[in-house]
Symmetry: none
Subunit: 225 residues, 2 copies
DNA sequence: CCACTCAGTTAAGTTATTGTTAAGACTCGC
DNA sequence: GCGAGTCTTAACAATAACTTAACTGAGTGG
């Protein structure tokens, strides 16, 4: 079994790098390290990691900024980025998702938790790769044929609507901020007005039913079952 | 430590329901029961159990079918499902895993075995899922879905209330000064009147119960268990 | 026991955010 | 280049969330 997912660890504290690297290698992952944002981006270009663990608090170029740059590069479109954050700076998570992070792991890092989180993240990557079908409630999404079914009835949605639906339904219950939606559906470089998202949501609601798409005012939208 | 995992027990035999429920409650679990598959799914939708104990042999809708339906719904993607089976029905065990069950427990049920199996199952859930959640007393805050649960009942709070609650509950017992609250929830640059915080506290009290939010006169508020 | 401060309570006022609509721009296949 | 379908926008309406202000009451110290 090839368990050789590549993981890039980025932190400015040498002992954390060592600690995390030690634990990951023990589990058979292929790891590289970087101690600042600039170096991280360079390493990432050569190393093509599946997953990047990114400390938020770093001198020179912090994790948020680094993540933004990575996401601006199409090469890293499918790379998973997870932030490492101190528990107290809880609120950075919000900014984190807005710049395109997939998850965050809080310090102090416990090996067992680290491992199970990483496994879960990589597992999901795998699943999304080879599962072209999402089932959520009584909605069924087929990514290959761009067809959505609900109670036997078929809809074929235009691209944007389909992608928006797919994003929301990929994690039912999770609230996606507007920024996050823009990043993932439109791309972090495209700029569209605020009402654009609403209009697409409205169309989805029209076609699939009001109740699936819940507005979290001031936060974003979520797919609700 | 709050041990209030929610467990739904499904069996058509009243004496088994009673027996299992008695034992689980004794250990401090929050339990609900259902005596058939249909009812189980309905209960599960409201009760949001962490774990479902599902008898295989039931009239109307058997455990296998029930499990299949539950698994088809992404709402229960992370719910643990364990079958209850008579030792002899080997075949069902295999079929059981095919529909996405996590474990099976054979009858006759011995309390001690039941407990240790349940604990092991819940421990696994804990490790994977907990990062986005704050659990304080019987209140459970899910930062990913912006949902607050209390004894299985869901509340969805507006943004400010949610953030205020999240802040206070992140360190139960700690007193947060008004200034501190303003800084973290509103931002240090925003200026709002003094009564604003009280109003939000009041709403939280209204929704979640008076007792959780203790006023420290002249100092601030704290979240009390 | 009065004056004072601080918190609780309301309801009304204000602001911010989202919903809706229709029109125009744009794309793509024909 | 034409038409069907798609996407974005802008203006406006609707609504939910938030803040305020005025009043009340409880507690405290002089």
């Amino acid at each position: 079994m090839a368990n050789t997912s590549r993981i890039l660890i980025v932190d400015d504290e040498a002992d954390i790098l060592e600690f995390v690297q030690y634990n990951l290698r023990k589990e058979g992952y292929d790891t590289e390290i970087a101690d600042n944002g600039k170096a991280a981006i360079e390493k990432a270009k050569k190393f093509h990691p599946h997953l990047i663990l990114l400390d938020i608090m770093m001198p020179v170029m912090d994790g948020i900024e680094t993540c933004r740059e990575l996401r601006a590069n199409a090469q890293f479109k499918n790379t998973i980025i997870a932030f490492l954050t101190a528990r107290s700076e809880d609120y950075s998570q919000i900014a984190g998702f807005d710049v395109g992070a997939d998850d965050y792991i809080t310090k102090p890092i416990k090996p067992r938790v680290l491992m199970s989180r990483i496994k879960a993240l990589l597992r999901r990557l795998q699943q999304e790769k080879d599962e072209h079908k999402i089932v959520a409630g009584d909605i069924e999404i087929d990514k290959e044929s761009y067809i959505v079914r609900r109670k036997g009835k078929e809809f074929d949605l235009p691209k944007k609507e389909f992608e928006l639906l797919t994003l929301l339904a990929s994690k039912p219950g999770k609230v996606f901020t507007r920024q996050e939606i823009l990043n993932k559906v439109w791309g972090s470089d495209i700029i569209v007005g605020d009402r654009t998202i609403d209009v697409h949501i409205r169309k989805l609601r029209e076609k699939l039913g009001e109740d699936y798409f819940k507005t979290m005012k001031g936060v974003g939208y979520k797919f609700d079952l």
